[in-house]
């Protein structure tokens, strides 16, 4: 049973593999944002794009042997959380308004 240390050491992948993975996630996220019409799925695709940024940052950080990239990743996480929070709050707001509008129409029909 190899421990994590040797797992990392014996790995036959390099920076290019991580970057390829990152670009693939970024492209999938971009396509998702562009072609999906569901707001939630669009938000999820944005999360994929942000995650791809994080992968490339961590990979660069590892291969440059420099911790600053890791710090940047944490800030990206904070930004992603803040954006998702505000975006979903606005979504809830719209949902509530739609609901109210529907109810109003309903009332008008009843009268």
């Amino acid at each position: 049973m190899p421990d994590l240390q040797s797992l990392g050491d014996n790995l036959q992948v390099g920076l290019e593999h991580y970057l390829t993975l990152s670009v693939m996630l970024f492209s999938i996220g971009t396509l998702g944002v562009i072609f999906r019409r569901n707001v939630l799925v669009m938000f999820m695709s944005v999360e994929l794009m942000l995650t791809s940024v994080n992968i490339s940052l961590v990979a660069f950080s590892r291969y440059l042997d420099d911790l600053n990239g890791h710090v940047l990743v944490l800030f990206v996480l904070a930004v992603a959380a803040a954006e998702a929070g505000v975006g979903l709050a606005i979504l809830v707001e719209i949902f509530k308004k739609r609901d109210t509008v529907d109810v109003d129409e309903f009332r008008q029909l009843m009268e």
């Binding site: 190899p2 994590l4 240390q5 040797s6 990392g8 050491d9 036959q12 992948v13 920076l15 593999h17 991580y18 390829t20 993975l21 670009v23 693939m24 996630l25 970024f26 999938i28 996220g29 971009t30 396509l31 998702g32 562009i34 072609f35 019409r37 569901n38 707001v39 939630l40 799925v41 669009m42 938000f43 999820m44 695709s45 999360e47 994929l48 992968i55 961590v58 990979a59 660069f60 950080s61 590892r62 291969y63 440059l64 042997d65 911790l67 710090v71 990743v73 800030f75 996480l77 959380a81 803040a82 954006e83 929070g85 505000v86 979903l88 709050a89 979504l91 809830v92 719209i94 609901d99």
Partner: protein
């Protein structure tokens, strides 16, 4: 060898799950796709020796994703009607842009010589270094990020709170 196979498995899971997010018709499936994709990314962090980030990824993202799925289950059938596409964002132009991104990026990976090290240092724990840099070089960004999160909190509370007019109707 075996670690390379494991890496490929996780990378494959990440990409397949991401594809599920972008293509699945069912929003719940999309949410689970995102969950597995982010877990795969978490494994990548482990491979890259980012222990602290891997833990943060699980705590922040997986928690956040579960909330997303909940939202999705509760309300998407109404929200899908909201048309966010501007008339100026044409699908064809967007597709061209996406393909351009892909071509540029692939070209970049194939052609670029990165200033990467040939021989990697052994993986060391990062948490201590994180703590030190947040309280020295990155103190201001750290505080600034906390103010940013406070703004997001205020905004989210403002949008989701019932307005006073509605309250007075109930009381």
């Amino acid at each position: 060898m075996i670690s390379t196979v494991i890496w490929c498995l996780f990378a494959g899971m990440t990409v397949m799950a991401a594809l599920a997010v972008a293509t699945s018709k069912n929003v719940v499936h999309c949410g689970f796709g995102l969950l597995f994709s982010l877990l795969g990314v978490c494994a990548m962090y482990v491979f890259l020796g980012a222990d602290f980030l891997a833990a943060t990824q699980v705590i922040v993202y997986v928690g956040g994703i579960l909330v997303l799925i909940l939202f999705g289950v509760m309300m998407t059938h109404r929200i899908t009607a909201t048309d966010l596409k501007s008339e100026l964002v044409q699908p064809v132009a967007a597709l061209i842009a996406a393909v351009a991104i892909l071509v540029l990026s692939v070209g970049m990976i194939l052609e670029q010589v990165w200033p990467a090290k040939e021989h990697l240092d052994p993986i060391t724990p990062t948490t201590h270094a994180f703590g030190v840099s947040f309280l020295t070089d990155y103190l201001f960004p750290f505080e600034f990020a906390s103010v940013l999160l406070l703004v997001a909190l205020i905004g989210a509370a403002m949008f989701t709170r019932d307005s006073a007019g509605e309250d007075s109707d109930h009381v």
